[in-house]
Amino acid sequence: MAADAKQVHLAKSLTHTAPLINCRFDPSGQYLFATAEDRAIIRWKLADGSKVIFKGHDSWVRGLAFSKDGKTLVTSGFDDTLIWWPMAADKPEPIRKATAHKGWIRAIAVSPDGALLASGGNDRVVKIWNMADGKPVAELIGHELDVYSVMFHPDGKHLLSGDLMGQIRQWDVAGAKEVRKFDAKDLHTYNSGQRVHFGGVRSLALTADRKQLIAGGLYKGTNPLGAVHEPIILRFEWDSQKVLKKHITTGVKGVIWRNVIHPDGFVMGCSGGSSGGYLIFWKAGEDKAFHKFKMQDTARGMDLHPDGIQVAATHWNRKVSLCRLEEKSNSKKK
């Protein structure tokens, strides 16, 4: 059954004891993993809502990624550390820890063949690791400010990383060399009064036909320290690197914390900010969103379930919104 973004609604909430940060569904779709300000990683079983806490990081956790077989979870913290976990264990203990970066590791990704893990940090470095044993494979140097997002190209030969400056770098994985840069400067602002850099490439995605690259973040950052900014998504043509569309919306103050491309072809962004949390939907040929859905609280992370219908979003109010992209009446039958 095709998803219907215009019918998106809240189906269920899950609750933790601390404000939540980020989330991911596991590849099998049985579990939702979320991270929280109490440093916990929470695994909810979707069928019955039971939860298991993973404790191992010495700081907040932002990055979540799974091995290709779905049996291993890797998390990245603001404590310089990557941790490998048994995804479905009753009493999960770290399989392996690696001190990977100097400072926050904001993003991680697993290669399409499952062999490699990429990580990007506040030390402005992108690193590649052997997924099986956690050994370092390569360091990619070039970013001028903090790395905010990483993504493997489906061909497995290339890696993309986005930074606070609004630069997206395409790397050749085997040669550990930069291939080219996409200029996403619209996602960066430097406020000379407040003397701060702000914005950044918060999320990356590639369309199924590999012809367009999507990068989310914020613009109109007139008061970075005061949360005055609006969400935006840039759509690049992969070959020419031209910006084809700047997807915006009206009446929403916030930042795109994550964008995903739905199997039906539309882009879904999760915005959090001073006007609350929103799921926002855009079509390829249109500047403005064709639909937006206000959630129960500002949002900080989002993921799309493998079924293409369920969407999870994490909130400051300690809750996860489990939304469905279908009519409410269908949802009630399930």
């Binding site: 404000p19 440093r39 700081s59 926050w104 003397r195 702000f198 320290l225 949360a227 959090g272 400051w316």
Partner: protein, 429 residues
């Protein structure tokens, strides 16, 4: 209150020597009219030992939890960890690794409760040591110490503010102490504005103009000398000195090696400029680092801002120590307030004056000391609560000034510091 010391009085001649050595003098003593001026030898020693002040103002409100009083692993602690420092038992935020290495030169007040969350009131409070009251304006710390510590042999202004932007110029922050002690801003760290002789005015013409001005001034002063006319005269004289000694403010005179050590950031350059200015005998230098008003993404912005602050500040402290200047130079790192322990929904922290910290060090300060504490998650002061007035008293005592003494302004006695407070003895050497 107006600065109107009268012609014919000796008040305008009062310099630092009348403030010094008076620590043992009881409260209520009046400054002014002391007759015993120091010997030339004493003046020379005084110049060498002259006390100086460097204040780093963390504009917007530095988070105590991301700096001097971290609470990792609590509901308010945020993502950053604490690290050990060069003083056993003292831990500070991991955002300050370089400062941690010079902690043995510094001290912390961790029990500050100013009960204020307003930028303007907080800045006033922290720089004057007094709560703002309607109809009353008090001089800032820089003006008080410039008045108290300026040596007669010093010809440059004793109160300098290095700001991140702006065009520079004279500020209105000396209140009843008069414009002589008001600060001069170095906008963007540049030399004072209008201190270059216009190209179309020859040196000879400028000299003639000044000679004529002096003659007219002297004649006028014989009959109608007031604080205002003195201030005009002093402004002209000081302007002449600023033009003559413009190099004092020229950072390019510092070695490439030092410029490299302090870094190429604006704050790094301003720290090096602060070192240069105190070495040249400027009494009070205030450097502003902006901006910490992080209602949104507090952690990312503190990572960015303190990443810029940490290494140059630690280099400055270490340099002053290595050059024998630290024992004569009081260093203070302050804000208008701290930030809320509660983390808001934008990963921000808001204004908070109820439990926060200030760092100080150098002249007269007990190195490696900590006074005051907050509870487990930093939501309240649990020990050693102090207000801005206590800190102001502490700074003056550390400099050898007696905060219990009075300025005599227009026949009225005004205490150097708010008499409702005391110095923090535990932070004094």
């Amino acid at each position: 209150m107006k600065c109107d010391y009268a012609c014919g009085s000796e008040d305008h001649l009062i310099a630092r020597r009348q403030f010094l050595g008076g620590v043992a003098t009881g409260a209520g003593a009046v400054l002014g009219g002391l007759g015993a001026f120091a010997t030339p030898e004493a003046v020379a020693k005084m110049t060498k030992d002259q006390k100086r002040v460097i204040v780093v103002r963390m504009a917007g409100g530095l988070s105590q939890l991301e700096s001097w009083d971290p609470k990792p692993g609590t509901d308010t602690g945020g993502p950053f960890r604490s690290i050990p420092t060069s003083v056993p038992g003292i831990r500070i935020s991991e955002l300050l690794p370089h400062t941690a290495k010079v902690m043995h030169h510094l001290a912390l007040a961790r029990g500050i409760n100013t009960r204020n969350g307003d930028h303007g009131k907080g800045t006033y409070m922290m720089l004057t040591g007094r709560h703002r009251t309607p109809g009353q304006t008090h001089p800032e710390l820089g003006a008080v110490v410039a008045r108290g510590l300026d040596n007669d042999s010093l010809t440059l202004p004793g109160h300098i503010k290095v700001t991140s932007g702006g065009s520079g110029g004279r500020n209105n922050d000396a209140a009843y102490l008069g414009p002589k002690y008001a600060s001069i801003s170095l906008g963007g760290g540049k030399p004072p504005a209008y201190t270059e002789r216009p190209k179309d005015v020859t040196e000879a013409a400028a000299k003639n103009q000044n000679q004529f001005r002096k003659q007219a001034n002297d004649r006028f002063a014989q009959r109608r000398r007031t604080a205002e006319t003195d201030a005009y005269v002093q402004s002209f004289e000081q302007a002449q000195e600023l033009m003559r000694q413009r190099d004092v403010f020229d950072l390019s005179k510092e070695s490439d090696k030092d410029r490299e050590r302090y870094g190429k950031t604006q704050f790094g350059e301003h720290c090096l400029l602060a070192r240069r200015l105190v070495e040249k005998g400027i009494t009070y230098v205030q450097v502003t680092h902006s901006n910490y008003d992080t209602h949104n993404e507090n952690f990312s912005f503190h990572f960015e801002q303190l990443g810029e602050f940490d290494a140059p500040f630690a280099t400055l402290v270490a340099d002053l120590a290595a050059r024998g200047l630290l024992e004569h130079t009081l260093i203070v790192v302050l804000s208008e307030f701290g930030r809320t322990p509660r983390i808001n929904k934008y990963y921000g922290r808001d204004h908070w004056g109820n439990a926060w910290s200030v760092c100080m060090g150098g002249a007269g300060i007990a190195r490696g000391a900590v006074h005051g504490a907050t509870n487990k998650n930093g939501t309240a002061v649990s020990d050693g609560q102090v207000d801005a007035g206590h800190l102001f008293h502490t700074y003056l005592r550390a400099l050898g000034l007696n905060p219990r003494r009075n300025f005599k302004i227009g026949g009225q006695k005004i205490p150097l510091a708010d008499p409702a407070f005391e110095p923090i003895k535990e932070l004094l050497a």
